[in-house]
């Protein structure tokens, strides 16, 4: 170090951080801008869709106008077909997802809490996770036929392993200090598990369920595309066969809206039940 500190300055380019609104990094943007962008997020694609189908000369069999899709929605709603399909899909997801959640949450908590149980189950679950659930469809049809059982089992397979491993991960990150504090206060292992670890990871569990419900919702549609008498997936596949593109769009939009509602419902549940964690996520 023989150079004086001043000499380095000749090499340094002048640099300052310019103020910005749109490109703020991990900072809140003004509320009006936020609202505008949210409205644009859905509004711009809708507008483009409307423009392309009204101004452009496009075969409605290829891309129907928004108005035509709305009419198709009204038609399917008034004949109660859409409701029947929605209920059928919701029922499958409900049963399959609930079964998977009820089993995977305790299994995941046990795997996260006890290294012994983790060693016993993690390799198997890690392997099963990488087998895409739809790849089980032929086997499920072979074993369980084409009724409700294979569809529910498919959702179960698709959710159970992922959810167990994700719950396990949240449990692994419980601070050791919190558990040691409990021991020092006189708690035993069972008390620590139920009264400290479980409440601490509850927000993480709800979050894992939220993410895996999206997977369950996709799987029910996939299973119905292949073989079903009713359901939103079935609706799309029938509409495709008869080139009723407007009905395909109705099906897709309903699927999306229901999925988003689930997501918002879980976010609301998380906010209400775990106020203490609200700023952490």
């Amino acid at each position: 170090m023989t150079e004086s500190p001043q000499s380095i300055r000749a090499f340094i380019r002048p640099k300052t951080l310019n103020p910005t609104v749109f490109w703020r990094l991990a900072e809140d943007i003004p509320k009006p801008l936020n609202t505008t962008l949210i409205v644009m997020s859905v509004g711009v694609p809708l507008l483009l869709w409307w423009l392309v189908t009204t101004v452009g000369n496009i075969d409605p069999k290829f891309l129907p106008t928004p108005a035509k899709v709305l009419v198709a929605f009204g038609r399917l709603w008034s004949t109660r077909e859409l409701l029947k399909d929605t209920v059928a899909s919701l029922w499958r997801v409900g049963v399959g997802f609930l079964l998977a959640a009820i089993l995977s949450i305790p299994v995941g908590v046990l795997m996260g809490s006890f290294p012994s149980i983790r060693a016993l189950l993690e390799p198997l679950f890690g392997l099963m996770r990488y087998m895409p659930a739809p790849a089980f469809i032929p086997l499920l049809i072979l074993y369980l036929g084409i009724g409700e059982e294979p569809k529910i089992t498919l959702i179960f397979i698709g959710v159970f392993f992922f959810n167990s491993l994700m719950v396990m991960d949240t449990v692994k990150f419980v601070p050791k200090d919190l558990i040691e504090s409990t021991y020092i206060l006189g708690g035993d292992r069972i008390q620590s598990l139920f009264q400290v670890i479980f409440p601490y990871v509850l927000p993480g569990i709800l979050d894992a369920c939220r993410i895996n419900l999206a997977a369950a919702w996709q799987l029910v549609i996939v299973s119905e595309l292949i073989a079903a008498n009713e359901g939103l997936g079935r609706r799309i596949s029938v509409a495709g066969r008869f080139l009723r593109t407007d009905e395909i769009f109705v099906g897709l939009i309903v699927i999306g809206v229901i999925g988003l509602s689930f997501d918002l419902l879980f976010q609301y549940l998380l906010r209400v039940s775990c106020k203490w964690a609200s700023q952490q996520r």
Binding site: Y183, I184, G186, D188, Y200, A277
Partner: protein, 257 residues
């Protein structure tokens, strides 16, 4: 003797063989004493506290509290950690009651006991607040209340004020002395802050590093414990002696390494 540590040794197994962390530690602490163990990082002071708490077992030697040998953690030894370890989903009141709940104390009794100690630490107004709504000093006071509700025989403190700013720290020091006088509890606290140790304790164990050993035991006799005592020569003599000792051992440790 109340808290007794007899020829305690602790080794950690590493891939290069055993690492001696604590070597031949002997300490005798009477009921009602305020003891600080002072040491630089690497003196094994946190490890020592973990052995007393029963969170870890010594390689050899033994620890007894009120004649009973320590074999694991238990409510006869309360502990306050440096990091905030309040349960984030519980209110201050629930946090304070929690130890008694774990021990099966009826709801009404534990509510009264917790309220009493929340009053002692000056947090009655905040009993329904969540930990994240408290400042750092308030969090540590809540942690102290939580440790005290089950009336432990000794309160262990692991650098409890290390994360606080200097003003909060000073008010916590005064709070601790007041608490100590009023409850007559035995306190064993570890810190690297020499001034803090001299101000608070009636006896200090100075620890040397690598391996952690007791280098000096020092009784502190100060006429009073107010902030102004820090400007008096008696206080400064204690502080300088300890600082010199730690500096010397720090250089020795560096030379050895």
């Amino acid at each position: 003797m109340y808290l007794q540590i007899n020829s305690l040794n602790k080794n950690f197994e590493t891939k290069d063989g055993p690492l001696v962390v604590l070597k031949d530690i002997n300490m005798l602490i009477e009921q009602g004493e305020y003891i600080c163990a002072v040491g630089a990082s690497g003196s094994g002071k946190s490890t020592l506290l973990r052995q007393i708490a029963g969170l870890d077992t010594p390689t050899s030697g033994q620890i007894t509290v009120d004649g009973k040998r320590v074999t694991g953690p238990g409510p006869d030894r309360g502990m306050v950690f440096q990091q905030y370890t309040l349960y984030p989903w519980m209110s201050v009141q629930q946090n304070t009651e929690f130890g008694l709940k774990l021990l099966g104390v009826p709801k009404k009794v534990r509510r009264e006991q917790a309220s009493y100690y929340l009053n002692v630490v000056g947090l009655t107004e905040f009993s329904q607040a969540l930990p994240k709504q408290l400042s750092g000093g308030m969090k540590q006071r809540a942690a102290i209340a939580r440790a005290l509700v089950s009336e432990p025989k000794v309160l262990l403190m692991d650098e409890p004020f290390g994360a606080l700013d200097i003003h909060t720290k000073e008010s916590m020091h005064e709070f601790m002395l007041d608490l100590w006088r009023r409850t007559n509890i035995t306190i064993f606290m570890i810190t690297h802050d020499v001034e803090e140790a001299v101000f608070l304790s009636n006896r200090i164990y100075a620890l040397g590093a690598r391996p952690g050993t007791v280098r000096k035991e020092m009784s502190i006799n100060l006429p009073e414990r107010t902030q102004s005592i820090k400007r008096q020569s008696k206080f400064q003599d204690y502080r300088d002696e300890l600082m010199d000792l730690m500096r010397k051992h720090g250089q020795e440790a560096l030379a050895a390494a």
